[in-house]
Amino acid sequence: MLSAEDWQAVALSLQVAMAAVIVSFPLGLGLAWLLARKRFPGKFAVETIVALPLVLPPVVTGYLLLVLFGGNGWIGHWLRRWLGVEIIFTWKAAALASAVMAFPLMVRSIRSAIEMVDPRLEQAARTLGAGPLDAFFTITLPLARRGVVAGCVLAFARSIGEFGATIMIAGNIPGDTRTIPLAIYSELDSPGGAERSTGLVVASIAIAVLAMVVSEALNRGRDSRKIAANRSSNA
């Protein structure tokens, strides 16, 4: 059902989405914690900037990224000069676009999960000798795990579907930057493309469903183990 080119698009999409989630996760986690737990000057500005990709036209976000990461852009120039890294029109650009577009969803989900964790539990951990990071990783993060996993899955799914910003900074190069949405778009542009794109449509749906199943399994797995432990000790 899938041609070699289709498989290429699927593999690339998975690679791009994975990279987008993995790279943005530490930053998203830190920022979500900061927004959930701290009050600081300029907090509203940070919140607004983080949420911006959600409301801006993706093409505009893509354009802004192009300006920043292009060969003459502030960051692009610096990356090329000091690290010899070229971003624009490579799969890395597609991952960057996906990460930026999915970032608000990830932060929002993790932030509300952290806000649900009673800060008094963290205080209790501190009085028991845990430093701030220790308390975060042993108390806050495990208790917020549902929202954290959900945030990552959401970001992953959003990345798989990313189109507008990607086409702006990564282009539509088969095998290099042509992800599933771009491949479908390209197929539909040519005669008989509707039939040829069916496989990719099914693949998108399958990936989305799989992502949800995996996240559900991750959550359930822990809970059922806990319940089983309680049952066995009750007996």
Binding site: L121, R126, L128, G131, D134
Partner: protein, 357 residues
Amino acid sequence: MTQPALRFNARHGFPSGFTLDIEFAADDGVTALFGPSGSGKTTTLNILAGVLAPQRAKIALGDRVLVDTTTHVALPAEQRRIGIVFQNQRLFPHLSVEQNLRYGARRRPARDVDFARVVEILELREFLARTPESLSGGQQQRIALGRAVLRGPELLLLDEPLTGLDSRLKHRISDYLDQLIFEFKIPTLLVSHDQADVRRLAQQIVILDAGRVVAAGPTRPTLDQAILGGQTPAPAPLNLVRIEHLSVVGRHIEGRIGDQCFYLPKSAIVSEQTAFARFSPSDVTLSRSPIAGISIRNQLRGSVAEIVSKNDSAFVRIELGGQSIWAEITPEAIATLELTVGAPAVCLIKATAAEIV
């Protein structure tokens, strides 16, 4: 150690206008921090726990300075070595009972406390694999207690540890507390608004009102004096007497205060040999000699140690067998009975008025 375990001196103003300004010391044994709500107990606890940074303070635990605002010292909570049992336990719901208990012990405890022994004292062995949510309030309270003790603290802070528990549980948790504090010799600060809890557990007391220390000293006399002097809102001193050699006899419970007999209604729960009976001074009638032909069964002989008048009442303290019982009577009755300090008197207490705690 010659210096007191805890020296606390702090001043902190809130935007609401409430200002805490207190100084006290707590030594080995149990010291109560007693006062009505709004007196500054919680603020003191938060300052000690490191949750609230006071505007001006000097706090030392043994020879370690925890907070000194003049030299900008403020140890983070995890370095203070204060074990806290919070009012609503704050157990970690995602960890098993054993993981909860070991949480502090795993993180460089101030000193080693034997895990097996704490589990034994608190009778927690059968629950170790469970999660805290699946346990009752009293069991959760025991875990919180064990967790704080296993941290190996230099000071144990108990925030209303018996509030919200029924009398049977209060009695048991008090016993657990006694055992732990006795066995591991941890200086303890008990935050409470409950006279019975304070009288039952604390040897020393610091009485707070409106953010100030109004009195401090040995629990019984200090608390009695503060209440009768109107320095704290409690209307009357509560009687809490230790009853020993309890046994069920027929339809009632019999015990002893010194060499005298004390009867309690059978509804009271007796699981131990020793318990405390609480009753109000208004439930105590005085006479000069034992009375025959009366339904009141408890007739305890003692001698008048103190007479204090408050409002329109007179409070008479009778000493017997090393313990004290307050009776609230009218000033006229004092004249009629010719009660003076040192005079013999008999306390008449209805068995049903006493409650075991």
